[in-house]
């Protein structure tokens, strides 16, 4: 377990991305090490938390017509397309696999430091009553879990969540994927649109996504005292990984509409 392996994936659709994240988790268990994948979305997509009710999504005017995919992890709905999306997987026997909060704090903490290097002040939402039962809020970025990253803005006195992650804990491995709202998504409006880092600090002050991802990966690795290894072939392009086949599960209405 002395490397952090990083994949740079191209954009794909929701089901492919979820299948690739599950592959990442299985691969982390096989290799016994921490893996990290950065990816994108071919079109604006809403990912729903594992237990969210599909009817709730269908009633929201602001996201009518936007494709939905249901995550294997919990949490609220996220609008993807302009966000920095990542998936990380670690074997449970690794210290970061021990309990949910440890993995959040490790990755989110590294992002706080990486953003600070770019002059952006974010901090983890503290444990408080607010972190408990706000499942009634549909969108992930309206909720606050302990360790979610927040920033002051866009107006005086407001605090906005800019990064959230969700976990799926399997028998021997933990999958965590999440979203950093680097730029606003102009394909949605109203209540589906949450203040992004660019809305708060101004578009020209937002670091470029790949540079930010790379700096974050380097900081995660540095914190663990391991080396970074970048994989050449993206997960979603690797035809022999069976991603296409396993993505059918996430295309299936029986999964998407299971609740």
């Amino acid at each position: 377990m002395n490397t952090l392996t990083i994949w740079w994936d191209a954009a794909a659709d929701g089901p492919t991305n979820m299948a690739a994240d599950e592959w990442l988790a299985a691969e982390a268990e096989r290799r016994g090490s921490l893996l990290l994948r950065f990816y994108g979305w071919t079109e604006t997509t809403i990912s729903l938390g594992g237990f969210q009710k599909i009817d709730e999504a269908r009633q929201i005017e602001a996201i009518r017509g936007v494709p939905l995919v249901r995550r294997p992890s919990g949490g609220g709905a996220i609008v993807h397309g302009s966000d920095l999306t990542y998936a990380a997987a670690v074997p449970k026997r690794h210290p970061w696999g021990a309990s949910p909060q440890v993995f959040y704090d490790a990755l989110h903490g590294a992002m706080v430091e990486t953003l600070a290097e770019h002059g952006i002040r974010a901090w983890p939402h503290p444990a408080d009553a607010r972190s408990r039962h706000d499942e009634s809020l549909f969108f992930c970025f309206d909720r606050r879990a302990t360790g979610d990253l927040v920033m002051a803005g866009p107006a005086s006195g407001t605090v906005s969540k800019i990064m959230g992650s969700a976990q799926r804990r399997l028998a021997g491995v933990v999958l965590q994927h999440g979203s950093l709202l680097l730029r606003g998504n102009t394909a949605v409006a109203g209540s589906a649109r949450h203040p992004a880092v660019s809305d708060i600090v101004g578009g020209q002050s937002v670091p470029e996504e790949t540079a930010l991802s790379r700096a974050w990966g380097a900081r995660i690795a540095h914190g663990l005292g391991v080396a970074v290894r970048e994989e050449e072939t993206p997960v979603v392009r690797g035809g022999d990984l069976g991603i296409e086949a396993s993505s059918s599960r996430f295309r299936d209405d029986r999964w998407t509409a299971r609740r």
Partner: protein, 381 residues
């Protein structure tokens, strides 16, 4: 509805009309609908309607109410006439050192049927819990009843040159005339769009206008009626983003930014909010001392020659010396440039002094400017 993030009665309207919702002081509020700049400019040119229901609304009554509040506020309450509104600070000495808990508006309603005085206090959403706790801890054994009416009521601000006309069009001619005749910081009651409302000629934008308090159940019908009457004239619904840029241009302080627990009201420019003569509110002696021996930084305005502003916490520099810190900053749509309010050392506080704001890694030139940045044309049509 989430138990933990409070929502005003108008939240459904905001979401249905494209409101982008954010967390403000534990309330889920719209920061903007379409464009902050458009909402801001609409308010200056025609009118804006704002949901300010998150602000604390406290009701105080009883035979000893006036005397009691007099002992706790920095403005005089004794002798306040019915319909008068005063801007005041609330101080506390519970922790030893006196602190400013909040800024607020105190007003006197019409007396109750049995002749007892009724007073109202409107405070900031972010301080409501601790103001309520502080006042409750100071209640006497008898003679004062105190109630937090925030969740039973709603508050709607209508601001802009056409605000009075729009609200008046939803009242009887008699009520409309009485509202139009209100002086600044005066209040009355009226029936607006068929619902009873407390109407005060106050606001947080630098424009003419009113703030209405109605029952929570009346919030949506009244809001929709004002919106329907005003939209053809250019009225726009405005979120917290525009509320912030408007109050910043008007040089108005926001608690937590320009005004803090350890603030010296004199240094912020709030002498008018503090009556010191013969008063004994918590910390009176301390604030008297501060006024007589001014020291420390003072509040000034800063104008930048670009659209990029320094923000709260950014340093104000002169050469290598840090001379102050920004308390609020943003692009100002009416002025077309970025402005900020800052606390700076007295020796750089004269208008025209050149300084720099540190915005991330770069320095932006700025000039000290008097407040407010914007003042409306007060001649009545």
């Amino acid at each position: 509805m989430s138990q933990l993030l409070l929502e005003t009665p108008l939240v459904g309207w905001h979401v249905a009309h494209g409101g982008r919702m954010v967390d403000f002081a534990g309330w889920r509020m719209p920061v903007q609908y379409a464009s902050i700049v458009e909402e801001h400019l609409a308010t200056r040119r025609a009118a804006g309607i704002f949901d300010v229901s998150h602000m604390g609304r406290l009701a105080i009554s009883g035979t000893a109410a006036v005397e009691w509040l007099e002992s706790l506020l920095t403005r005089k309450v004794a002798g306040i006439e019915v319909g008068r509104v005063r801007y005041t600070l609330i101080t506390s000495d519970a922790g030893g050192q006196p602190v400013v808990l909040d800024d607020a508006l105190v007003s006197r309603d019409t007396d109750a049927a049995d002749g007892t005085t009724r007073l109202a206090l409107v405070c900031n959403a972010s301080n409501r819990d601790r103001v309520v706790a502080w006042l409750t801890s100071r209640l006497p054994a008898a003679g004062v009843t105190f109630a937090d009416r925030t969740l039973e009521t709603a508050m709607i601000a209508v601001q802009g040159p056409l605000a009075m006309q729009i609200v008046g069009s939803l009242c009887t001619p008699a009520d409309a005339a009485r509202i139009a005749g209100l002086g600044n910081y005066r209040a009355t009651s009226a029936v607006v769009a068929g619902h009873a409302a407390a109407v005060s000629r106050t606001g947080y934008t630098g424009e003419d206008g009113v703030e209405l308090v109605v029952d929570a159940a009346a919030a949506t019908p009244v809001w929709e009626a004002i919106h329907a009457a005003g939209a053809p004239l250019g009225l726009r619904a405005c979120g917290l983003g525009a509320r912030d840029t408007l109050r910043l241009e008007a040089g108005m302080p926001l608690y937590g930014h320009e005004l803090r627990e350890d603030s010296d009201p004199s240094a912020i420019g709030l002498d008018l909010a503090v009556n010191l003569e013969g008063r004994s509110f918590p910390g009176a002696g301390h604030y008297c001392g501060l006024r007589n021996h001014p020291a420390g930084r003072v509040r000034v305005g800063l104008t930048f020659d670009s659209k990029r502003s320094a923000r709260e916490g950014d340093a104000v520099m002169q050469g290598d010396r840090q001379v102050g810190v920004v308390t609020s900053g943003s692009f100002a749509p009416t002025l077309g440039t970025a402005v900020a309010m800052a606390m700076v050392d007295r020796d750089v506080a004269s208008p025209g002094t050149a300084v720099e704001g540190v915005i991330r890694d770069s320095r932006q030139p700025a000039v000290v400017a008097p407040l407010p940045f914007y003042q409306r044309d007060k001649r009545r049509a």
